[in-house]
Structure formats: structure tokens, C-alpha cells
């Protein structure tokens, strides 16, 4: 089953409803908070967010900055794409570096073959939010991504330590979002809460939204580690016996290069990707090595203030 593909957006009533809901949420952020920021990762969800923010505030510009937490282990393509998007939209971009958190001793770099800067991002992010006095951080997370997220609110409260308390969430009814808080606390806001991966791809296709080349099939040096394909790079520590090999792959999510898994694929157009997503038998986050650490991994990281 699946909704028929490749129709113009006006034929997709569900996409129009999701779009309108997201625009409503973005305007609530602009209306309720003093210093919002849009967390931009370079992945497709945050690209869709930027597109929606343009629509929400046109003919004005996006009234808040994009904030990128740079692990220093990004794919080159992500950074090029980011800078091009900023040029195209006229948005303000702020970048904060995990490397700076390491240099200043705020975090200690992990070592070994499974090391990743993904976890360290949390500290850099929370430091950036308090430095910028951000009171609402808009993120591209979706409830269908992961079990712990299925219960998260659209306006999700964070205490002064940036932590989420899943057992003590505010009830969220109708279209009424309660953004009141004490000084020093902040909100994470998720305008794409009700979207699925398929909705995102259909929306990208029907709106013709540019996305980084990483999402399309290409030949790249990868390392196979159990059933995950990881991009070979100077940042990826190899296990004994691991040898990079050339494969035709693409990425389904784009995050830190050391823990974003690729899949073998020939999908070279948006249409190909859509058909692949529809017949997909593996959820997108499962390619991310960091979710594998434990079944409740996401819940634990979210409590600590992860994206």
C-alpha cells in the first residue's frame, strides 16, 4: 500500500494539511518567543523546515537565525549545500563548533572505533543556546522516527539544564501551544511532528526543494561494520581488518559522517528515492550507529537535551 506518487502538491490534500499545520506552528514560535533559532543540521528535515519558514513569513524573510552545530566531521557536501541555501534564502546563519567545546575542555573527545562526536553535540548545543539566550529551538524531529519521540509535544519544554522530562509533559490540546516558562528554561519546537518520512519525500518532490547530493546514489568509499555501511573518512577510526571499498550508495539521513549509515542504492532522482522509500523495509534511523547503543538510547539522550 501507499499513497500514489508524483502528483502535484495540490493533489496531496494531506500534504497541504501538514504544511498548514507546520506554518501555524512556526508563526506561534515567532509570536510567542523573543529569541528563537532554527536548528539546521543540513539534513532533509531541516531543509524542509527552512522551506516552510520561508513560506510562513513571506513576503518577509525568516525572522530567526539558523543555528548549525558543526561536529567538524560533516560531509563536505553538507557544508557546501548549507552555504548555498543561506545565500539563496537570505537567512542568517550561526555556526557553533564541537571542536571549540573540546578545546575549551567542556567535553572530552571519545576515542576508539565506535567514537563519534554525535553525543558531544549536546554540550555544544546547550552552550550555544544559553550563549545566544535562545528561548525556542526549532527542530526537524518527527514522531514517527523513534519510539520515545511518539509522545513528545510540539512545544516541548526543557528545564534550565536543557533536559526533557517525559513523565511531566504539559498537555497539548487543539492548536493551542503553551510556551510560558521561567527564565533560563527553553522550548524545543517540532513543526514536523506529524510528518512521516514518506510525507517529507513527497513534499520535497512536489515542492521541488533542492537537497544535498548525498541523498542521491553515488559511488563512495565505505566500510561495512556489521550490517551498517559507514562512509570512510579521516575521522572514522577503523577496526582491525576493516578495509574501505567502493560501493554505489546513498544516505537516507545526513548527520555526523562517523555515525550516519548509508544504503546501497541506485536511486538517482527524487522519483527513484520516493519509490525506494515506499518499498523500504528498514526505518531510516536504523542506519545510525548511535541509536543502536541501546533500545532506550534515544529516550536517554533526549532527557539530556539532544536534538
Amino acid at each position: 500500500m501507499g499513497i500514489s506518487l508524483l502528483q502535484p502538491v495540490q493533489k496531496h490534500e494531506h500534504l497541504r494539511q501538514l504544511e498548514s499545520e507546520a506554518i501555524y506552528t512556526l508563526r506561534e514560535v515567532a509570536g510567542q518567543f523573543e529569541r528563537p533559532a532554527l536548528l539546521f543540521s543540513g539534513g532533509k528535515d531541516s531543509i524542509v523546515l527552512v522551506h516552510l519558514a520561508q513560506k510562513a513569513f513571506a513576503p518577509g524573510g525568516i525572522p530567526f537565525p539558523l543555528l548549525h552545530i558543526d561536529t567538524g566531521h560533516n560531509f563536505e557536501e553538507t557544508i557546501e549545500f548549507r552555504d548555498e541555501l543561506v545565500r539563496r534564502t537570505g537567512a542568517t546563519l550561526l555556526v557553533r563548533y564541537v571542536q571549540d567545546s573540546i578545546d575549551s575542555g567542556r567535553v572530552r573527545e571519545e576515542t576508539g572505533p565506535y567514537s563519534s562526536r554525535n553525543g558531544l553535540q549536546t554540550v555544544t548545543l546547550l552552550d550555544a543556546l544559553s550563549e545566544l539566550k535562545t528561548d525556542a529551538a526549532i527542530g526537524g524531529a518527527r514522531r514517527d522516527e523513534e519510539k520515545a519521540r511518539s509522545k513528545e509535544r510540539v512545544f516541548s519544554h526543557r528545564d534550565v539544564f536543557g533536559q526533557w522530562d517525559p513523565k511531566n509533559q504539559r498537555p497539548e490540546l487543539w492548536n493551542i501551544y503553551n510556551g510560558s516558562k521561567n527564565p533560563g528554561e527553553h522550548f524545543r519546537v517540532f513543526p514536523l511532528s506529524n510528518w512521516t518520512e514518506l510525507d517529507i519525500w513527497q513534499y520535497i518532490v512536489s515542492e521541488g526543494i533542492p537537497i544535498p547530493s548525498l541523498y542521491f546514489s553515488h559511488v563512495r568509499k565505505v566500510i561495512q561494520r556489521s550490517d551498517v555501511l559507514l562512509a570512510d573518512s579521516e575521522f572514522l577510526a577503523k577496526l582491525p581488518g576493516e578495509v574501505p571499498e567502493l560501493r554505489r550508495i546513498r544516505f537516507r539521513t545526513v548527520g555526523d559522517s562517523t555515525c550516519t549509515g548509508a544504503i546501497e542504492s541506485n536511486a538517482s532522482s527524487l522519483e527513484d528515492i520516493l519509490s525506494e522509500v515506499i518499498s523500504a523495509r528498514v526505518t531510516e534511523r536504523s542506519g545510525r550507529a548511535d541509536d543502536r547503543r541501546s533500545d532506550a538510547a534515544m529516550e536517554d539522550r533526549k532527557r539530556q537535551g539532544y536534538f
Binding site: G60, K151, I176
Partner: protein, 503 residues
């Protein structure tokens, strides 16, 4: 048929009726469960030592509930078929989670109520139907589950359907569909059942694919303003989502602050357009410079909303700190924010029996009818007509938490002459007891004076005309007063209840 849109439904049932299994089944049979999710719940099922794959684990996400084996919060789930996209709000069934049910149902088009065929209609099933009715749900689906455990008996199914129909009739819900299912085996969920040939209706999924969400016939323009867009000196755009009605360039609109203007230009989703309809987010430019800000409402001058600073509403209390009369709360109605106090509680609704009871406060999970006084007039429509402008939440200004969800019933007009006169009671209790009784009555919003029995009845009539209740004590009952005899010791609680029912 309308373009394939989104159908939102809330599932409700008592603990162990099979909600989580049903949702798991819907996702599984509609092929919305992906391989690695399946692997992960298979692993978890094995760890718990259960013989088969527990589809319920798909929806029971948070660690605490996986440990306690219950659903403790509203979880949202997604799947789609060729016909439409579905958003499920999976809500818990326990009494202490009534508020979560209210939350999940607030955005639903349809409620799916689960009944365990062995247990039949429980008070919890009724509560879920009653809450659905309060939240304006017009379509109920009653899935009679675990039919495999009652030998797929048509007689048992009919029995349950009859009993429940009788209850639902009292709620004024126009459409109720009964479907016999087995969430565990899959009968009548996605695939028709081979074991219940006596049933000729649709499967649950087919019903959900085809049900037309109730269209609110309300067509008056309501556009609450969310945010003012000012890219430069020459342009001011008012952004918001059209809750009902339509808006075109050239239309005259009135603002809740009192001014009128014409629509000069309209943006919808970033494009200049000539018109927009309900559900669309717009940016409106007006032809003259008037003061419009976040929280103001645009409407057509010919069909204004109701305006009042006193409203009567049904609320669900959502927090442990009970409702306090006279305390300041923040009221959020869409983007509108105003200070408010609760003036009085009309009654509490017992959602199991639908009885209305006098109370002095509402506690967590209570549903009651209250009178709210706002610091400035609210522009609104009754919830039943227009949920977008008839719903609100109340926020505690100190803890910032959301303490209540409300549905506006009507305006309480201030200028309305007090035709209500006070009641005159004569009580057989000592004057000191009567005084403490009167202060308790005051907590229920009743204004009461206690007078010795030898006063001039002109004075008493004066009080009564002002709507003040008079309690006389001592001597013999005077003509015109209602005699209330209280017997026995320690009768205070009894007295309070008895007196309240008289006032």
C-alpha cells in the same frame, strides 16, 4: 469523494482491552511496520518471555511504561493506505488519565472505543464516550474486541451493542458503528473475519478509510492573528490561519479592537493570491493603518463573534493543584492570551453517570462547568459551533503549566438583570455552626447571610432581591422561609450538601 486527506482518530479503552494490540495490528496489517521495528519488538517480546510477538510493544514507547506494562501518555502513530493518511492518538484508559484522553481526543475526527467482549460495557467505556461527546466528536466506532474469547458469538456482540447504544443515545452523538474484532488474530481489523460470517459490515480499517470527517457547517470568517510581518517600512502583513469561512482581496473585515478595513493583498504559503479558505495560513495586508496585533481576531462585520468578559465553559482539570476560585490564571485561546479568574463552579459532571454535582473545587481529571471572568472581553463562538474560537486552555502563571482545557458554552451577560433572587432558609442549628456553614457555602460561590430569627422581614426581602441567600436560625420558622431540620450530631458535611441542593 474528497481529496485524500488526513483522518485523525483517538483510541480509548480500559486497561488490557487491547488498544495497543489493535494499533499494532493496524500498522502491521497495513504494512506500516518496518523490518527493524519488528525485529526490535520481537527481541523485546522474547526478553519478557511472551510466546508470541506482542504488537502492543510497538506503541508502548517510553521506558517507564514498558517496565510497568501500561500506556501512560498520549502516543501518536502514523500510517497510510491508498485512501488516506491516518494519525492515531493512542490514549490511556485508567481513570487517572482522563486528562490524557481529553488531550488525544481534542484533535480527533473520530473516536475508536474498545470494549472487551468478555467484560462488556464498563463504566470506563461510557466515560470515554462521554468525553468524546464533550469534545464534539460526532462519530464513534465501538470495536468489540477479543471476539475469539467468546466463540465469536453474535448474541454477545448484539447484547453489547444494544447496551452501549442506549447510553450513547443520551450523549447526542449521531453516528455509532459497532464492529466485532479480534486484535490478536486480526479478524475484521484489516481483513474480514472468516469466523464471523453473521457480520456483514465493514472492517475497522475500511470504515476508517471511508468515514467522512464531520464537516462543521460554520462558514463565518474567523482569522486569529498570530504574528505581524514587517519586512520594511511600507508593508505590514498580519499572519494567521483561517479557522472558518473564506477571505478575498477587497473584502471588508472588522478587527476585534473595533476598527474596519479592506483586504489589500493576501499571501498564501508565500504566494500572492486573490482568496483563501478555512485551514489555510495567510498573510493579510489591510488598506489602512490600524492597530492589529497578535491575539486580535479578524471577522466579517456582518457576522461578528460573541463578545463577553464572562463565559460559561466546560473544563477538564489537568493538574494536581486543584482549581481555586478567584485565583489568577492565564487563558490561552488560540494566539489570544488574557488574565482570567474562575468566578464560580456551576457543577461537576460525573462522566460515568452523567450526574451533575455541586462542588467547591475541581481536582485532577475532573470535568465541570464553570464561569470564567476575563480581564478583557473575549471574542469567541460556542465550542460546538467553532472549536477554533471556542476552545481555550488555562495556564498557572507561577508554574507555567497547563492546568485546564476548556470548551466555551455561552456568554454570561453582565448586564443581565439579576432576576435570580436569594433563598430564605430556616435551620435548626446553632448560630455559630450556621456561620461556618455560610463561609463554606461562599466557596461554592453562594452569597449567604446568617441572621437571627427576630429581624424585620423587609430587611430580609431586601437581601433576597439582591440575590443574597438568607439563613435564619433560632426561634420558630418564619412564614415564607424553608424549614430545614438537621438531626443528629456531626452533621456538617450532610448539612452542606443538603443546603447546596436548595440554593
Amino acid at each position: 469523494m474528497a481529496a485524500a486527506g488526513i483522518l485523525r482518530f483517538a483510541t480509548a479503552g480500559s486497561v488490557d482491552d487491547g488498544k495497543s494490540s489493535l494499533i499494532g495490528r493496524l500498522l502491521y496489517d497495513s504494512k506500516s511496520i518496518l523490518e527493524d521495528q519488528l525485529l526490535s519488538i520481537e527481541k523485546a517480546s522474547q526478553q519478557r518471555g511472551s510466546g508470541q510477538v506482542e504488537l502492543a510493544l510497538l506503541t508502548d514507547g517510553l521506558r517507564a511504561e514498558r517496565e510497568q506494562n501500561i500506556t501512560i501518555d498520549v502516543a501518536y502513530r502514523y500510517f497510510s493506505t491508498d485512501k488516506r493518511k491516518f494519525i492515531i492518538a493512542d490514549t490511556p484508559g485508567h481513570l487517572q488519565y482522563t486528562r490524557n484522553m481529553v488531550t488525544g481526543t481534542s484533535t480527533a475526527d473520530v473516536s475508536v472505543i474498545l470494549i472487551d467482549a468478555r467484560k462488556g460495557v464498563l463504566s470506563q467505556s461510557k466515560r470515554h464516550a462521554a468525553i468524546s461527546a464533550l469534545l464534539g466528536i460526532r462519530q464513534l466506532v465501538v470495536a468489540v474486541n477479543k471476539m475469539d474469547l467468546v466463540d465469536f458469538s453474535e448474541h454477545r456482540f448484539d447484547e453489547i451493542a444494544q447496551e452501549f447504544s442506549a447510553f450513547v443515545a443520551k450523549l447526542g452523538i449521531p453516528q455509532t458503528e459497532f464492529i466485532p474484532i479480534s486484535a490478536l488474530l486480526g479478524d475484521n481489523v484489516v481483513e474480514p473475519s472468516a469466523s464471523m460470517e453473521w457480520y456483514s459490515g465493514p472492517t475497522l480499517l475500511k470504515f476508517l478509510e471511508e468515514v467522512e470527517p464531520h464537516q462543521k457547517p460554520f462558514e463565518e470568517l474567523r482569522l486569529p492573528i498570530q504574528y505581524v510581518i514587517r519586512p520594511n517600512q511600507d508593508y505590514r502583513g498580519y499572519s494567521g490561519r483561517i479557522e472558518s469561512g473564506a477571505l478575498n482581496v477587497g473584502d471588508t473585515v472588522e478587527v476585534s479592537t473595533g476598527s474596519t478595513a479592506r483586504v489589500q493583498s493576501l499571501y498564501v504559503g508565500g504566494q500572492a493570491e486573490l482568496g483563501a479558505i478555512a485551514g489555510q495560513g495567510v498573510v493579510v495586508e489591510l488598506d489602512r493603518d490600524i492597530d492589529v496585533s497578535r491575539g486580535d481576531l479578524l471577522f466579517a462585520p456582518t457576522s461578528p463573534p460573541l463578545v463577553s468578559d464572562r463565559i460559561e465553559a466546560i473544563v477538564c482539570w489537568m493538574t494536581e493543584q486543584p482549581l481555586e476560585l478567584g485565583r489568577r490564571y492565564l487563558l490561552l485561546q488560540g494566539p489570544t492570551r488574557v488574565s482570567a479568574t474562575v468566578e464560580s463552579i456551576v457543577h461537576r459532571v460525573d462522566v460515568d453517570s452523567l450526574d451533575e454535582q455541586p462542588v467547591s473545587s475541581l481536582g485532577m481529571n475532573d470535568i465541570g462547568r464553570i464561569i470564567v471572568h476575563t480581564a478583557s472581553p473575549l471574542h469567541f463562538d460556542p465550542y460546538a459551533v467553532s472549536p477554533g474560537t471556542g476552545s481555550f486552555v488555562m495556564v498557572d502563571p507561577f508554574t507555567h503549566s497547563t492546568v485546564a482545557a476548556g470548551m466555551i458554552q455561552e456568554a454570561v451577560s453582565k448586564s443581565e438583570p439579576e432576576i435570580v433572587t436569594g433563598k430564605w432558609l430556616w435551620l435548626s442549628i446553632p448560630i455559630d455552626d450556621a456561620r461556618s456553614l455560610s463561609s463554606e457555602l461562599r466557596k461554592f460561590g453562594k452569597v449567604v447571610v446568617v441572621l437571627p430569627n427576630n429581624l424585620d422581614d423587609v430587611l430580609i426581602k431586601d437581601f433576597l432581591q439582591q440575590g443574597i441567600h438568607v439563613i435564619s436560625v433560632g426561634g420558630n420558622p418564619m412564614p415564607g422561609s424553608v424549614k430545614v431540620v438537621i438531626e443528629g450530631q456531626d452533621t456538617r458535611p450532610l448539612t452542606l450538601e443538603a443546603i447546596l441542593s436548595l440554593l
